[in-house]
Symmetry: C3
Subunit: 347 residues, 3 copies
Amino acid sequence: QSNVTIYGSVDMGYAYRYDSNNRNVDSNSAIDGGQAQGNRLGFKGVEDLGNGLKAVFLLEQGFGVDASSDATTAAGTNKSISFTRQAYVGLTGGFGTAIAGRLYTPHFSFVSAIDPFSAGTVGQYKNVYGGGLFDPTRVDNAVAYVSPSFGGFTVTGAYSNNAIAQESSIDNSQNNTVYALLARYTAGPVDVGFNVHRIAGASGNGVPTTMKSIDNYTLGGTFDAKVVKIHGLISHNIQDNATGTNDVQIDNYMIGATVPVGKFAIKTSYMFSDGNSAAGGNAQQFAVGGNYALSKRTDLYTAYSIIDNDSATQNGVTLRRAAVVGDASNSGMTFQQGFQVGVRHLF
Amino acid sequence: QSNVTIYGSVDMGYAYRYDSNNRNVDSNSAIDGGQAQGNRLGFKGVEDLGNGLKAVFLLEQGFGVDASSDATTAAGTNKSISFTRQAYVGLTGGFGTAIAGRLYTPHFSFVSAIDPFSAGTVGQYKNVYGGGLFDPTRVDNAVAYVSPSFGGFTVTGAYSNNAIAQESSIDNSQNNTVYALLARYTAGPVDVGFNVHRIAGASGNGVPTTMKSIDNYTLGGTFDAKVVKIHGLISHNIQDNATGTNDVQIDNYMIGATVPVGKFAIKTSYMFSDGNSAAGGNAQQFAVGGNYALSKRTDLYTAYSIIDNDSATQNGVTLRRAAVVGDASNSGMTFQQGFQVGVRHLF
Amino acid sequence: QSNVTIYGSVDMGYAYRYDSNNRNVDSNSAIDGGQAQGNRLGFKGVEDLGNGLKAVFLLEQGFGVDASSDATTAAGTNKSISFTRQAYVGLTGGFGTAIAGRLYTPHFSFVSAIDPFSAGTVGQYKNVYGGGLFDPTRVDNAVAYVSPSFGGFTVTGAYSNNAIAQESSIDNSQNNTVYALLARYTAGPVDVGFNVHRIAGASGNGVPTTMKSIDNYTLGGTFDAKVVKIHGLISHNIQDNATGTNDVQIDNYMIGATVPVGKFAIKTSYMFSDGNSAAGGNAQQFAVGGNYALSKRTDLYTAYSIIDNDSATQNGVTLRRAAVVGDASNSGMTFQQGFQVGVRHLF
């Protein structure tokens, strides 16, 4: 709008620090933001009042680009917010795309694209997938590289030293390091990919003290036969624990379909999550829903899902999650239903 | 501005949940947002650096559209903010307008339009009106319908199950339900309306344990005779309490005038608030002020008000509020003055 | 972007309040915002769906323009945020510029312009300057006037009753009053200025109980000889304490240079901070860095700095600050290094 100018600054980079007196931890490496100058997002405007007089206003907020937590400093000084969904800056060109900041994991970008419900509504895959680090969504202090498309084939690599918003400012070895790699082939009706997401955990720093690492392996894709689009997914997840604690393994299997009928899209999916011996048994979800496009940007949506947890806990571990978006109070129950209908607008 | 693209998604709808194990409260209905996908507001941009190289940035925040409270989840995951003044999505057309989200009450939309001071400055009606649920301003998890104009006549109906940011996620009967209806006639110099706002309270859940319901009845309007605009209001408010506790009743009466003189607008109002036996006695406010338009978007404003509380408390109940915007520390005093002068800019 | 309209309102002014019952502090003067109406920043849009139907959305946030702290009110009512870097509204014209809100001090605007590192990266002047009120950056509830340029000569005057986000709403004498004056001459290659920043402290209200006042005197400037730009600064700072407590004095000396080489800018600075007897000894910093302009809005940056604190504490007072941006955990160490490299994008 002509009355308001949006402006700002965002920077990300590498930082090395050394401190002679902090002998136990005398150097630190980090991927940080706001180094060149404080990150800022501002709104400003000038109105000509005539006779040489003008009205001016300016509103400028600081923010953290590298992490999801608020950076609060002493009263009277600059307190920043965070853009908690995504925040990044980078370069793109013939070499591909390189970005740094708070990023979606390749895992989530890929799986949410395969889910018929796009990770939304009560039909979303997440409800019975096995939560937390078994379903990594975003990481802070991250860098990522996406290759150019080679005949439909792309590779995404990502690294972060902060898997779970627990970056140590004084000791790199206390960080939960993330390595992610996604190979994806998209051509004509086919979209298939294989993703590996590895977290090398730092004991007790936001992760269980017994946890050594978590590995997610996901193979999936969609095939669009026009009259129906088929969705499928196999995901193998292992939490490698220290000696004396059982490893945790979850295997997820999803099949789904989307059927376009004019302005309607009818969706369904079935997911079976096998928790094996140490992860609280099995869970399964059946979901059906649909969208009606009022335009490319506005639609009506509905979804219904039913969840069955055949054993919610085992060995004192509960990993199954409950059906309904935004209803954490009902998690872990053996049988659940959810229904939704509404309107969505994109801008 | 050409450097920045604003984008996002907002959705609202109805949700039903059922849980087999939570037997005492085994189903729940709600008007919720972010069901189809997480609500988001983003700022992004691309700059061409030449030689095929581009700089990119993206900042994306989640938000709650249905309620005023922050939705905070575990560290490392998405933490959303709220747009605490208003947030809604909806459809409008020949049938009228239907919106859902966090909404102004028809009561506030109407009364603030009748107040010569537009619910701003030290002259605002709110200072002695009787606060809280006696002057409902916004409600969460709300739906509203505004009819088309039938020869100047419109009807607004609204419903919410969350009068005071205390929605229960597990039991509908614990919510404070709101029903609102506004009939308004606007034609030529006349703008008159009658509003009913009813809150069916859930004992102790954000409202007094003894409160059963609150009803507000408001009749008012303005008449614009060009040389002077006349403002008038009568408001009857009852808090129906359980047996053993006296009901509380407040009656408000306001008259006001706005006189345009070139770029000046001179304003005055007098309000008498009758607290009756159980509501802390009476209060009255006289206010005078003015605006000078530097443009349609920028003005200078001034206001002066004087408040007299003839008995600030009675039966241990204090309902009278003090004069000055933003000065809660001085509330409840018997005699007060406030004066303001400044510049306002709309963008 | 055509899908979204940004709108809002911002106002600032003077307020006087009087309260008959609050006899010890019966009047109060303040520079406040949101008096005429609640400050707001909103995003809204309308999409035509055809057949007379339209989709609408609106997201509106309240904010405080006068102060950096969040204004939180009761649940269910309007909770505002703050624009913590800057927020102001005002008028500009032949008479100069007058603004009010949360403002950068003339001290910071001037010193950050003289610093070769522009108050960013590990090379920034702040690292060893002596922090807090010895380096005033922003003040709340402020008014400022900037004169027109008289042949390159400008004067800036500023006043605030809130030096450190501790405004009293009931007693002006409890505020930390700020008076600031900057005289600056900018012509051709020369940019020189002299700044005085005085804080008359209110004992214990956000400042040390023994502190009576702080005065900062800063003389500095740059000379741009094209092949090299020379930067220089002398700053004298005194904290006047009550009888029985030693006054604290810090003197800062900085020299620097910027050398442009095509798209490169190479920077260096040396700062010596003399803490004298009561301020923890001396500190010195040597920094070198550079920028490579990918465009006017995007650059690569790097910086390296080394800090030597010859005595970090004395008389129990530690005023020296450590090198590295965002690494408060390492403050006060005798020898430090920092290195950074990254990409910055302005939008």
